[in-house]
Structure formats: C-alpha cells, structure tokens
C-alpha cells in the first residue's frame, strides 16, 4: 500500500518549511493554517527564490511615486497626474484553459490598477506560443486571444499594444503576460493597507465560490500530464462583474472614505488580508461565515483559499460602512463587513463563534523563506556561443529571404490579433497597435504617454546577461521612436524551475543585465512579477523577461510613427551600419540555427541614439521613425514601406556578408526619414549627440529597392507583394 503524503506536502510545502512553521507558531498548524501558509509561502506569493536577485533592480528616481511592493507602481507625469502600471503572468492557467486563463489574467491585472485608485486606461500584453503547425498551439493561441479580447472589450479598456512570439520552446507552456495602465491624480492614490485599528474590513464584489482553490500553488510547480487535473484550479472570469466593480470602487474612492484597498488575486482572502495588515503593521480579524457565497457548504478552508474573481478587500473609515454599501448596491454588488483591523499583529479567522485560524501576520509574510540558489552555467552556453555561424552559406536570393521573414509569424503583422481587441474605446488612442509603441493622449492636457512591451527570449537563452540588457534597451527604443521619454518599467520574468542551477543562472544573469541597462538608461523598475516553473515534463521555456514600459510625450501632437510618408523624403539611419549574424531571427528561420554571439550593446551609445531620436522628433525634423529589431535593417525598411504604402530606394555600403548586413540584428539603430532640406540639421543634431548618422536613400515608388554601392541589386520587391505576405500570414495559419 502506498504511503499517504502528509497534508503539508500535498499542499506544496517542504519538510523544512513545515518545521519552520511549527517553530513560528510554537505548535503544529491546523488544516486551515497549513493551507494559508502553503499559498502565502508559495513562490508565486512569496518570491522565495527570486527576492535576493530582484534587489539588484534600481527602483528609485525623482518621478517614482510608488515603487515595487504595492499593487502596482506609480510614476509622475506632471500637472498633479500620475500613471499607474504593472504587468503580470497567467501562464499556467492559460496552458490548461486558454480562454479563461487569459481572461482572468486581464481581470487580475486590471484590479491591481484600480486598487491604486486609478482609472484603467489601457491594456497591453505579451504572448509566447509554440509553432502554429501544431493544432494544440493554434487552439491555445486562438483561445488566449479571444479570452483577452472578450474580457478587455467588455470592460471598455482599450488593448492598445503588445507582442507575440512563436517558438518551439513554448509548445506546451505558452506565456500570457498582461499589463494594465491607469491614470490617477496624486491626491487620489490609494494603497493596500489595513490601517486604523477598529476600521471595518469589507469584502466587495462577486460572491465567493470554490473556483481556483490553490491556484497560487499550481502556479508554483512544473506542468505535467497531471496538470489537466488542475483544471478546477483555473478561475472563471465575469467581465461584466468587473466593470461594475471598477465603477463602484472608483466612486467610493471619490468620497474620500477609503483607508486601504486591495485586490483578491492569488491566494484570495488569505493573501489580501495578510498583505494589507503586513503593509500597515496591524492585525486583522475576520469571520468567514459573513462572506457572501455562491455555493453551499463551503468550509472555512475553502473560503480562505478561494480565488474567485472580481472581488476586492476594502478598508473604509469606521462609520462609513453604509455609504460604501449604498454605492455598491447601486451597482448591484455585495459589500459586506467581514471583520476589523486589530492592533495585535495577528491574523485571526473565525467561523461564527469558533476560532479556525490564528497566525501572526509576519509569520505569513515577512517570515516566508528565502532561498539563495546556486547558479551553474549550462552546458549549451559555450557550445552555442562559439558555434561557427560564419560557415553557413550566404543565400543567393535575398528577395526570397525577405519574403520568408516577413511571413514568419513572429515578424508578420499581428492585425489578426489586435483587430479582435477594442483598441480605441476611451478615445485616447492616438497611435494604434502595430507600431513600435502605442500613444495615448491625456485628455485636458497637451501630454501623451507611450506604451510598449518587449522581450527577445532567444537572446536571453544564448546570452542572458546581454539579453536582459537588450530587453530593456529595445523597450526604451520603442518609446523613443514614437517620441516618448521612458519614465519607468514593469517586468514579468518568465523562467523554468529555479531549483535547477542552470535555470537560476539564466534568471540571475538576465536580472543583472536588465539592472545594468536600467541604471544607464535611467529607467527605474516600479513593479513586476516573477513566473517560475514554466516547464513541461522537465523542459523549460526559453528564459523570457518581458519589459513593459511607459514614457511621456510633453506634446502629444509631435508623436512619430513608423510608416514612410512622402516621396522624396530622405531615409537616414541613426546608429551603426554594420552586420551581425549571431542569434538572429534570420538564422533561426532561414538556416534553422539558433546560435552565435548575441549582438553586443553599448548602453551609452544606445542612450545617445534614443536621446537623439527624441530630440529630432521634438524639433519636428523627423517624419517617421522605426526601430530595427527582429529581421534587421531589411525587415525594418520593409515595415516602413508597408506602413506608409510607399516604396523606397536605397544604396548600402556593405562590407562582408550581405545577409549579415540586411538581416543581422545590430542594436542601437533607428531608421528615420526627413525632408531633404532638414538633412543637414538632422546630421548636426546627431553629431551633437555623438550618434553615427548615414543617408541610406529616398522614399518613393512602389518597390523596395536595395542596392550595394557597386549597383548590384540585393532586394527588389513590390510593396504590395511584401504586404500580402506580411499581413496575411496569421489569418492564413489560423484558418
């Protein structure tokens, strides 16, 4: 007969952790308490494997009003206004139940934003899937996109940007990262704190059911064949309920009676109570029998661990209970006092007269274990890095290469995705999805904000340190291309099992690289999320840090877009005109090779290029700007042509392999255009920033024509033909 696992092990705790809990309590925890520790000490809630490394991130700056540690980060945008933002993963649920997994991912991140008192004004996402040849991947991709669409569309929050990459490492383990951005007046910013002994603790929004119990624990283990059994751990979303919750919460906040507010996400009531009390240094006492339920016969354990969606914890001033109830009832929602803030630092749970759990708040939060894992350089690292990519043959037909790249799902137009998202509601969207970054105007001011997500996991796999740097640099470059100055970033770090030394090495190196880039580019990290255990049957996804970034345009009318504008405009490259083969999409797609050195990045040069680009945009000298990323210069030029519906004629000074020049992913480069009479001025500004600047050719005609200095034609394609391949790719794959 098989030995039965002890309860704590069943719930995901280790023997040492259980021992530690017994020491902290001075006794063995009961069933409910064990469950509470198990979820709050899970990786998902406690960051026990990542905390020491995350300390490397720079988190301060004059613009930072709230750094990591709250529901979301907050940066100042002037005029007493601030932008609130955060990105979060919902990978595990989406791998099992793509529609609901993605939908509730959106719901959760939106609640984090209005929990800060902000009105949510934009959603972005970052998605990773396997290869579309697999029917399972198509099912996951289609399900995730419609889950995000249905939830966000119903809320009336525009989904304005994002990115989608396809790679076999995500075949069984897709990544679904959702970001939300909100707008708030400084004096309306709220925090998740249970302050003021005697203040009521209210549970508002949807009733509590049995869905999502132990979701946080599920998110902290690898996927396997048994994961299908975890389907009940995936929550079900109700966007209509969330819409009402947003309006009711913002209306209550307007009255000025809210002391603290916190969303119920992972680990539900347990984590919301513990976190709000921990932040305020107070205690909390609740009675689970007062919690409105949607199912009969729920035990205290189930109520405490339920991850039912669309609920918030609200701590109003004492005596304002009725006012809160009035507003919530108007919106047809529950608002029930379930307990009080106490002064003894204890989290006490009762069911009517019976005490069912009594645990020090600090034991659940601050005392959570921290693991200092040992990194080890993986075997593949040296092998891939020094793999002789130069020996690969140079293709004869660059037209064919370019068309193949444009049609590759990672590079192709994502219109199939974003046309399913309402990206215009709230009428702020100045620059719609499809460019380097989205631009929103801030009503009633001249200002605008730029929003983007970015992260290249191939770079991070081949060289996590450089890859981490590039993730930050590229996101910032996206913003600079639209004319927005980066203010802050939020990160979602998606990795495999950190208990494996090679995975931990990837994680540590990526964070080091990102931190370095943040310091040099002066962009603080204000919020973020770590998602480990993205492995299926022991195989990890590529290390995937996703950077979500927000920037400011002081005059939104000056925003810049990627499309070429008028015949005769000069095409100019800011940054180096060189070649590089390693780690490129070109090598992967055309040669089936993922190897070679990741492109080097000089962060000071990067900063200069970006500062220069924004200055040129600000002076009105630039008519279009586009970042060179996956697919290199040739793909960037093709995208500029397609977006503008016009051709271009270029002459490139090429040394060495043509493919490295055309498709290599050299960093710190932006393709801009200007009218001929501004060319000298553009050169002057670029020189003042110490940025290499080079005239490449002119806009015009119906073809993209690229020649070398000897006049040899390298690329000659009709824009319409490129557009058909690029635009039609995803629809074709999805049928």
């Amino acid at each position: 007969m098989a030995e039965q696992k002890p309860l704590w092990k069943e719930m995901g705790l280790t023997a040492e952790e259980y021992q530690r809990i017994c020491e902290l309590l001075g006794r063995e925890p009961n069933y409910v308490e064990t469950g509470m520790f198990a979820v709050l000490w899970s990786e998902h809630c406690a960051y026990k494997n990542s905390r020491p490394v995350l300390k490397l991130f720079p988190t301060s700056g004059p613009q930072v009003l709230q750094g990591p540690g709250e529901n979301a980060g907050v940066v100042d945008i002037g005029d007493g206004q601030a932008v609130v933002f955060k990105i979060e993963s919902h990978n595990h649920p989406s791998a099992i139940e793509p529609y609901q997994g993605a939908a509730t991912g959106v719901g959760g991140i939106v609640r984090d934003i209005f929990a800060m008192g902000a009105r949510p004004i934009a959603i972005l996402n970052s998605l990773r899937f396997g290869t579309l040849e697999s029917p399972r991947v198509r099912y996951l991709f289609g399900g995730v996109v419609s889950g995000i669409a249905d939830y966000g569309n119903c809320l009336g929050i525009p989904t304005v940007g994002g990115e989608v990459y396809f790679h076999p490492s995500y075949n069984d383990n897709p990544l679904v990262n959702a970001m939300c951005v909100g707008l708030v007046e400084h004096d309306q910013i709220k925090r998740g704190r249970a302050s003021g002994v005697g203040n009521p603790v209210m549970l508002v929004g949807a009733p509590t059911g049995r869905d999502g119990i132990h979701g946080a624990t599920f998110a902290s283990e690898e996927l396997s064949e048994e994961s299908e059994d975890r389907r009940p751990a995936v929550q079900v979303g109700d966007p209509f309920m969330e819409k009402l919750l947003i309006e009711a919460c913002l209306e209550v906040i307007q009255t000025g009676c809210v002391v603290g507010i916190q969303d119920l996400g992972a680990a539900g009531l347990t984590s919301a109570c513990a976190e709000t009390a921990a932040r305020a240094g107070t205690g909390i006492e609740i009675d689970v029998s007062l919690v409105p339920r949607r199912e009969e016969g729920m035990t205290p354990y189930e109520v405490m661990l339920s991850e039912s969606q669309e609920r918030m914890l609200l701590i109003p001033e004492q005596g304002k209970e009725e006012l809160v109830q009035q507003i919530f009832h108007k919106w047809g929602l529950n608002a029930v006092v379930i307990g009080r803030v106490t002064g003894d630092g204890i989290f006490r749970v009762k069911e009517g007269g019976n005490l069912v759990a009594e645990v020090p708040v600090k034991a659940l939060t601050e005392e959570a274990p921290v693991y200092y894992r040992t990194p080890r350089v993986p075997e593949y690292y040296e092998k891939c890095r020094y793999w002789p990519v130069e020996r690969l043959p140079v293709p004869e037909d660059f037209n064919k290469v370019l068309l193949t790249l444009l049609e590759h799902p990672t590079i192709a137009s994502k219109e199939w995705v974003y046309r399913q998202y309402d990206h215009m509601v709230l009428i702020n969207t100045v620059l719609r999805p499809g460019g380097d970054a989205a631009v929103l105007r801030i009503k009633g001011t001249k200002k605008g904000i730029g929003l983007t997500t970015d992260g290249n996991s191939r770079y991070c796999y081949l060289d996590p340190y450089l890859g981490g740097m590039i993730a930050v640099a590229e996101a910032a470059r996206n913003l600079s291309c639209v004319g927005a100055k980066p203010l802050g970033l939020t990160d979602c770090l998606n990795f495999g099992n950190p208990e494996k030394p090679e995975i931990f090495w990837q994680f540590q190196e990526v964070v080091k690289g990102m931190s370095e880039a943040c310091k040099v580019l002066e962009i603080p990290v204000v919020s973020g999320n770590v998602s480990f255990y993205n492995e299926t049957e022991g195989v990890a996804v590529y290390p995937t840090p996703v950077v979500g970034m927000v920037g400011l345009l002081s005059d939104v009318t000056k925003y810049c877009s990627p499309g070429f504008k008028e015949p005769g405009d000069h095409i100019v490259l800011l940054g180096p005109l060189t070649g590089h083969l390693g780690a490129s999409e070109y090598l992967a797609v055309i040669h089936g090779c993922e190897a070679g050195p990741v492109p080097e990045i000089d962060l000071l040069q990067e900063k200069a290029v970006q500062d220069c680009c924004r200055e040129l945009i600000n002076q009105g000298l630039v008519k279009s700007a586009h970042d060179c990323s996956e697919g290199g210069l040739a793909v960037a030029l093709a995208e500029c042509c397609i977006a503008g519906g016009i051709g271009a004629n270029l002459e490139l000074e090429i040394e060495g392999r043509e493919d490295a020049f055309l498709f290599g992913e050299v960093q710190s480069r932006i393709v801009i255009t200007c009218v001929p009479r501004h060319l000298e001025k553009v050169r002057e500004v670029a020189r003042s920033f110490g940025v290499p600047v080079r005239l490449l050719g002119r806009v015009g005609g119906k073809r993209l024509l690229i020649r070398d200095l000897r006049g040899r034609v390298l690329v000659d394609l009709v824009v319409k033909e490129m557009e058909e391949k690029w635009r039609g790719s995803l629809s074709k794959a999805m049928g």
């Binding site: 419609s146 669409a149 249905d150 569309n153 119903c154 809320l155 009336g156 109700d238 966007p239 209509f240 309920m241 819409k243 009402l244 919106w331 047809g332 974003y418 046309r419 399913q420 998202y421 309402d422 990206h423 215009m424 509601v425 709230l426 009428i427 969207t429 100045v430 105007r441 009503k443 009633g444 939104v556 009318t557």
Partner: protein, 240 residues
C-alpha cells in the same frame, strides 16, 4: 441644446460621448442612470456603446427592460432625437424602436477597425450637413453587428430611405468585401420612419477630434446641432 447619455450597467462608451458633447461641441450634457424615468429637459438622448449587462444573453436583450427605456420610447414618440451607437443600436432594435435584429459577425470574431461608410441620405437630423452619397471613415468595434431584417421589412426600409449608412469601399462601392460583419444590404445604420431615431454600429464619437486622426464623425454631432438650431428658428419665427 441639452444632451442626455443613458448609463446602463456595462455601458462603456458613455464617457466618450460625454467628452465629445462637452469638450468638442461645448454643449450641456448629463448622464442618465438607467433607472431614471423622467427625461424632461433633454433635447437629444444618446444610448452609448458598451456591453450592457455583459451582453451575456443577446446584445441589448436585458437593457431594453431598464426603466429608462419606457421613457426613451415616449421621448421618441414625441419627436425627441434618439441616437443609439453600437450597443445603443442593439438596444434600440431589442426595444422595437427600430426594426430588425443583430446577429454575430459572420467572421464569428469581434472586429475593431476603420470602415468606410456611404451616407445614403442627408435628410435626417443626424446627417444633414453630410453630402448625400458622401464616403466617410469611421471605426467599428463589435462582435454582433450583423444586421438582419426580413425581406419585406428590408424592402420597406430601402423604400422609405431609412438606410442612413452603408459599408462601402474607400471609393464608395457597396461590395461584399467592404462589409465587415455580413449585414443585410451592407447596412451600418438606419433610422425610423419619422427619422428622429438613428441607430448605427460605427462610433462617430471616436472620430471627432483632430488628434485622433479623423474628424468624419464630428459632422454627425454638428448635424444634430444644426437641425436643432433650425427647429428653434422655426419655433421662434413661427414659420413651418
């Protein structure tokens, strides 16, 4: 001219319409909670877009039972202007203030994109400053915009000139390719026989400002103002 914007639970374009009336047109506007029963003092009622009651049943099927809808019907019967945009259009259909019904888009997906529209008639209070036959650009954002009416009802709509907007190509041709959702006769918007109630799927409030790159929708709101000025003029001068 005084505008009222009805807020149903789940409306989400209410703030957008408010912004356009208040900031772009500079006219008085207020929100009307769906439980209101009195519309006295308003000259034009807007039913905005969104997902009233989550649209979990059929778009607009529950909203039409909101107390305010009886008042809207009365208001319309007295000749007041009623404009239903997107979900507002769906509610007008469910409430029987306009004929026909909506089905899911024939692509079975939500669609958010710019479309081109042919202004089929400028003889309405909502289109009087457009040219008849003018081609304009407007965004759509819906999953159920596939307009259906029985053949007789459709013939009647066409005969009475109640089809106000039709999906078309940038050149103004009414083709299947230009139809984003499978609507009968490429219908994007219709009015009632009395021409004081308009429902349309595209969002004029999303294209009424220069900074958003398109002002084609502003003329719809300006038409309403111009019609109202005309009415007032008639009242004051007593000429008919």
């Amino acid at each position: 001219m005084r505008f009222g914007i009805v807020v149903f639970p789940g409306s989400n374009c209410d703030m957008d319409c408010y912004h356009v009336i208040d900031q772009v047109l500079g006219h008085p506007v207020s929100y009307i909670w769906h439980q209101e029963k009195d519309l006295t003092g308003f000259d034009c009622i807007i039913l905005p877009g969104g997902f009233s009651y989550g649209d979990y049943l059929r778009s607009g099927a529950i909203a039409r039972f909101s107390p305010v809808m009886e008042a809207v019907a009365e208001f319309a019967a007295k000749g007041g202007l009623v404009l239903g945009i997107c979900n507002g259009f769906q509610i007008l259909l469910e409430a029987g203030l306009l004929p026909g019904a909506m089905m899911r888009n024939n692509c079975l997906q939500f669609r958010c994109q710019d479309v081109y529209l042919k202004v089929e008639t400028n003889e309405t209070p909502f289109t009087n400053i457009y040219r008849a036959g003018e081609v304009i650009r407007m965004p759509i954002a819906h999953g159920e915009g596939n307009y259906y009416a029985a053949p007789e009802a459709l013939a009647e709509l066409e005969e009475n000139g109640q089809v106000v907007f039709r999906y078309c190509t940038p050149g103004g041709e009414v083709t299947t390719e230009a139809n984003p959702n499978g609507s009968c006769n490429n219908i994007a918007g219709i009015c009632n026989k009395e021409r004081n109630v308009l429902g349309l799927m595209p969002h004029p409030e999303r294209c009424a400002e220069e900074i958003l790159g398109n002002t084609d929708g502003k003329k719809l709101f300006l038409s309403i103002l111009s019609w109202w000025e005309g009415q007032r003029c008639e009242e004051v001068l007593g000429c008919g």
